[in-house]
């Protein structure tokens, strides 16, 4: 018998290698359910899961919702408007109200790093962090690791390049935590303004040139550029960014011939990845990521649901 050590999934940082393996293996077994004609098992019948989203994210929310439904849980979506969040009390008030509704799991997406930690300390329900600020996005990193393992058969020893706005990316942080625990070598690259201070202390190699980072990479992970960052003067224009940090037919030749290309979506086509690469089934695994996302989230819901012992 196996179980996760904690009541919540707040980040990959807190996870052990065994826990990551348990989640990935469970997720791999869940993949099959999505291929059935009746894509549903009764496992979480009578359980309720609240998707509490303080940030719009159709993809992640839908993925959690499908995962819950395929396990026969009741899923309830609550989208809090950002205007009411500004006051700050809202998360606490909402938490108290939700607790009264007695759900089993709360999936929280929030623009503030640490918000899931606060919620977890306030309510007895299990909290799954579906992305908190620039901190962590554990289910994304797990589905990325699952996809890499599916395509490469392993994680240890692989060279993974993560390209883009590392500073503001929770996907990058969770993947750095997870992949380094699993023994991969990580190189991050992006404009110097998008590199967080002391990033090397996280155990990664950092550089500012895409070409340097992707050379001999087994996996190239491209991050989404938030267009509004332009206002903070961390990059001058999308045009200039795309000229130097867009993965294309030419620079991808620097990576290993069998390298896979990943993106957490949604893609800014022609900015992070050229359309022909994004749509090339020989290297792009972007659709596998979406598919695996449902399985990983099913695994998390499944492993967290249980008695109060």
């Amino acid at each position: 018998m196996m179980k996760l050590a904690k009541k919540d999934i707040l980040g990959i940082q807190e996870m052990t290698v065994d826990e990551i393996n348990l989640i990935l293996e469970t997720a791999e077994s869940f993949l099959e359910i999505s291929t059935r004609e009746i894509k549903k098992v009764p496992t979480l019948r009578g359980k309720s899961i609240i998707n509490l989203f303080y940030e719009a994210s159709t993809r992640t929310r839908t993925s959690f919702e499908i995962a819950g439904k395929r396990l026969s849980a009741d899923t309830i979506n609550i989208s809090a408007s950002t205007s009411s969040v500004v006051k700050g009390e809202t998360l606490i008030d909402t938490a108290r109200n939700l607790e009264a509704m007695n759900p089993d799991i709360i999936v929280l997406r929030h623009s503030a790093a640490g918000a899931p930690h606060l919620l977890a300390s306030l309510v007895r329900q299990s909290i799954i962090n579906a992305g908190d600020g620039a901190h962590e996005h554990p289910s994304q990193a797990l589905l990325d690791m699952m996809t890499i393992r599916e395509k490469k058969g392993r994680l240890a020893g692989l060279k993974v390049a993560i390209i883009g706005d590392i500073l503001h990316s929770r996907v990058a942080r969770s993947n750095i935590y997870g992949l380094s625990k699993m023994g991969a070598r990580i190189v991050v690259a992006g404009p110097a303004t998008m590199m967080p201070r002391n990033i090397e202390q996280m155990g990664v190699k950092a550089c500012t040139k895409l070409e340097e980072a992707i050379t001999d990479a087994d996996v190239v992970m491209m991050l989404r550029i938030q267009l509004e960052r332009q206002k903070q003067n961390i990059f001058p224009s999308l045009r200039e960014y795309a000229q130097h940090y867009c993965l294309n037919r030419k620079n991808i030749k620097l990576a290993k011939p069998d390298a896979i290309v990943m993106h957490p979506g949604p893609i800014n086509r022609g900015v992070e990845i050229s359309p022909d690469i994004a749509d090339d089934p020989a290297c792009s695994v972007i659709l596998d990521q979406v598919n695996n996302g449902v399985a990983v989230r099913m695994a998390l819901l499944y492993l967290l649901s249980g008695g109060n012992e």
Binding site: M2, R36, V41, P42, Y302, E309
Partner: protein, 182 residues
Amino acid sequence: MPETKSPKVVMDSDGIERCLTRIAYEILEKNKGIDNLVLVGIRTGGIYLAERLQKKISAIENTKIPLGILDITLYRDDITKTSKKAPLGKTKIPFDLEDKKVILVDDVLFTGRTIRAAMDALIDFGRPKMIQLAVLIDRGHRELPIRADYVGKNLPSSLWEAVSVNLLEKNGKDEVLIEEET
């Protein structure tokens, strides 16, 4: 502390083989051949028994009948009572169940809850014409109205006894053991 008694062998390798041979013939007899017949083994002990039955039936009929694997963990009725989880195995039903005669195979029939879960799982894959149950050991103590169509051996046991089926494929040795639970 109660003294631990050493496990008692209630069936050896030959016994298991004889039972499976008999069950293979019984299946063919009852279903009048292999038309629309499929085997589905329940993880984990049932898989190997189903594989052996598949071989025996193939040998008799000169045709291989389809074989599926079912993990019933997600259908258990006690799954959310505990946060401890059995490792989840893969389910493989690589054929259409519609109008098939399914022989569900498991090692030990006990409370019947596993079989209940297995039938629920099967029905999610399609609508079989009928489901029959083959087990190596029936140890009694049913909690649901379920009975096996093919039984290797009826083994009266008490609730505090553990019955374990060891198979060559996973334990390196064929034998059925009974022992007092510690």
